[in-house]
């Protein structure tokens, strides 16, 4: 029985000192140093409502755009259904977000100010704007009320719906979470693709086949963008993006890609022929599942990268080593420490 305390990972032996004597540089590179493997940053505190919101809110935003375009083209069968889908999503969204708040009764504080430095503040205003405009547009499409309001409402809904589908990428990209921050330029495109795919797929499920052609094409375009952007993201995120490829988030991500690809394949094939329509609906279901799974994978990958100090410390130390940054610690003479 030994009473010697376990040597913490934070020992001088685990890694050579960068500014130390040259002879110790031959020690091989080890894991980044840490304090008892404790995370440096906090894991996000957001719960299950948030990835569901990413899915529902994205679908609502893209559906508003689809409804507007279909309306312009006189495809009222499709337009009315897309407005209804958007309406459902746009009203579920705030419920999910309010449910996630630590103090739900204070949800109106979200509109207390407008802050361009806070994607959550900007997003709250976008959601509120889209919510009002979609409600008016959908009400008019189904009952004919507010014809004057709806004329401008449709345009506002379509315009605000686009950033509603993409700002969530800015929301999580603008954090210290390594997997999210490193993927910040790709996340809005992944979410745009997922939003287009799910809006198209939902409209395919709800709309009679001969009116659903634009929705079917949108779903396929969205799926292609979603898969392409997600692949680019995993590549660009490098070491910080490892959680996108490994463990549970990695498995979810692969599942999402496979499901989305299969769904898009079925939808692309499922055309106007009656026999193909069942296939198209199965494909649409797969696309919805794929878009949702992709959001969940990205959400969980962020948690994973926050929970392990190597994803935070490793790239930061690398920046200092390469001379790209001085870092926050300085030895005398302003040398990085």
């Amino acid at each position: 029985m030994s009473t010697r305390p376990e040597v913490p990972s934070a020992t001088l032996e685990t890694r050579p000192r960068r500014n130390g004597k040259g002879e110790r540089a031959m020690v091989p590179e080890a894991e980044p140093r840490s304090y008892y493997d404790q995370p440096v940053i906090q894991e996000p505190v957001w719960t299950w409502e948030i990835p569901i919101y990413f899915f529902v809110g994205g679908m609502a935003g893209a559906s508003a755009g689809l409804a507007y375009m279909a309306h312009l083209q006189g495809n009222n069968e499709l337009s009315r259904r897309a407005w209804a889908i958007s309406l459902a999503g746009i009203h579920v969204s705030p419920m999910l977000l309010i449910s996630d708040l630590g103090r739900p009764a204070r949800f109106l504080n979200m509109l207390r100010m407008f802050k361009i430095t806070s994607p959550m503040s900007v997003g709250s205003w976008i959601l509120a704007t889209t919510g009002g405009a979609v409600t008016v547009s959908a009400a008019h499409a189904w009952t004919g009320v507010f014809p004057g309001l709806a004329r401008s409402g449709r345009l506002v809904a379509a315009l605000a719906g686009m950033p509603l589908a993409t700002y969530t990428g800015a929301l999580i990209g603008n954090t210290a979470v390594p997997a999210w921050h490193k993927a910040r330029h790709f996340l809005p495109f992944v979410f745009a693709g997922g939003a287009a795919a799910s809006a198209g797929a939902a409209a395919v499920l709800a709309t009679p086949g001969k009116h659903a052609e634009p929705a079917r094409r949108l779903a396929v375009i969205g799926a292609a963008l979603e898969i392409g952007a997600a692949q680019g993201m995993e590549h660009a995120a490098g070491f910080e993006g490892e959680p996108y490829k490994k463990g549970l988030p990695g498995a979810l991500s692969k599942l999402a890609t496979a499901t989305t690809a299969a769904g898009a394949g079925l939808l692309a094939k499922g055309g106007r022929r009656r026999s193909d329509r069942t296939l198209a609906k199965v494909g649409a279901g797969l696309l919805l599942a794929g878009a949702f799974t992709e959001r969940w994978a990205i959400f969980r990958a962020g948690f994973k990268s926050a929970s392990e100090p190597k994803y935070t410390v490793g790239p930061q130390r690398e920046r200092i080593r390469k001379g790209e940054s001085l870092g926050a610690a300085r030895m005398p003479g302003n040398r990085p420490g």
Binding site: M1, S2, P5, E6, A10, L12, E13, K21, R24, R33, S34, Y35, Y36, P39, V40, I41, Q42, E43, V45, W46, G65, L66, L72, D100, G102, R103, F107, N109, R112, M113, K115, T117, P119, M120, M162, P163, T166, G169, A170, G173, T175, A176, W180, R184, H185, P188, A195, A196, P214, R217, P309, Q316, R319, S325, G327, A328, A329, R330, N334, G337
Partner: protein, 308 residues
């Protein structure tokens, strides 16, 4: 030190312009970890004064540290690091020869006792961590309600009557300082004892610190003190001493609460190159806008494409 002129210009975002005549000198902490004895008086004093609830009661097995990390219920955290120094290869840090180490290890194996003491190839690092009150604070930038604000002292404080517990500041902080208090639902963090400052009292942790490891004062004056201390350490042969967060050209524009460390920041659980996430926000917004346009083009193409 040549960098003193730069230190004097350390700014803190909008402060102090927004306060006009009400602005006070920027106040902060200099935590000199080289004289921390790990008594945790700062942790206790902070909890007492600020009514911070108790949380974990038990032993982590990680040296004397049963707090582990700053969070909503721990606004000061004393880290304990036990370092086994390398054998005498470079002479400047090692205190034992290889023969001495071998003899001691044999004794340990025979007796089953750990005979290591401070000074015998073992080095204790202790450090009291706290909110950095960054010049460019990510928590403040991302807060959608304005609950987080910069005080007239240049410090960063959460207004408990406004915070709605959205949790955005939690993953935005590059130091992992903020978290949500469970039953309460809001986020909490060090206020640099805003209430005490307004009565010209020093923060509770600084007052309780028995060794003056935690020093409170005007930031410009603390910087001068820290530079002098760093020089003193160097002159005494402590070549591993460094200042952390004392320079306005780091990723958060310098800390309002900075440190003297004896090893790399990550050894204390601190990020070596923290960057305020909003520094990259213009690019993030550009990508978000481009993606929104791409989505609009995709929808238009899907609808118009079939008309031909």
């Amino acid at each position: 030190m040549s960098s003193n002129a730069k230190l004097l210009t350390l700014d803190a975002g909008a402060w102090p312009d927004t306060y006009g005549e009400m602005a006070k000198p920027r106040m902060g902490f200099f935590t000199d970890t080289s004289i921390c004895i790990g008594c945790k008086a700062c942790e206790v004093a902070c909890k007492e004064w600020n009514h911070v609830p108790e949380d974990f009661k038990g032993f982590t097995g990680k040296s004397y540290d049963n707090t582990l990390h700053l969070d909503a219920d721990n606004w000061r955290h004393v880290a304990f690091i036990e370092q086994r120094l390398p054998a005498a290869l470079d002479g400047d840090t090692a205190t034992e020869s290889l023969v001495q180490i071998a003899a001691r290890r044999e004794l340990e194996e025979d007796s089953g006792l750990d005979t290591l003491q401070e000074g015998e190839g073992l080095r204790w690092l202790m450090a009291s961590d706290v909110c950095k009150h960054c010049s460019h604070a990510a928590c403040l930038d991302v807060c959608p309600t304005g609950a987080l604000f910069r005080t007239e002292y240049g410090t960063v404080v959460v207004q408990a009557d406004i915070c709605n517990g959205c949790g955005y500041c939690v993953p935005a902080c590059p130091f992992g300082v903020l978290s949500k208090r469970k039953p309460d639902g809001r986020v909490w963090k060090c206020t640099l004892c805003y209430d005490r400052l307004r009565d010209d009292k020093e923060p509770a942790c600084a007052q309780a610190c028995p060794t003056n490891s935690i020093q409170y004062g005007e930031l410009t004056e603390l910087h001068e003190r820290a530079e002098a201390r760093l020089q003193e350490m160097q002159d005494a042969g402590q070549t591993s001493a460094r200042l952390y967060g004392a320079h306005p050209d780091d990723g958060v524009g310098g800390f309002g609460a900075f440190f003297l460390l004896l090893d790399e920041p990550e050894v204390y659980g601190l990020p070596p190159d923290p960057v305020v996430t909003t520094r990259d926000l213009p690019g993030i917004w550009a990508s978000t806008g481009a993606a929104a346009v791409a989505l609009a083009v995709g929808i238009a193409a899907a609808c118009i494409g079939g008309r031909r």
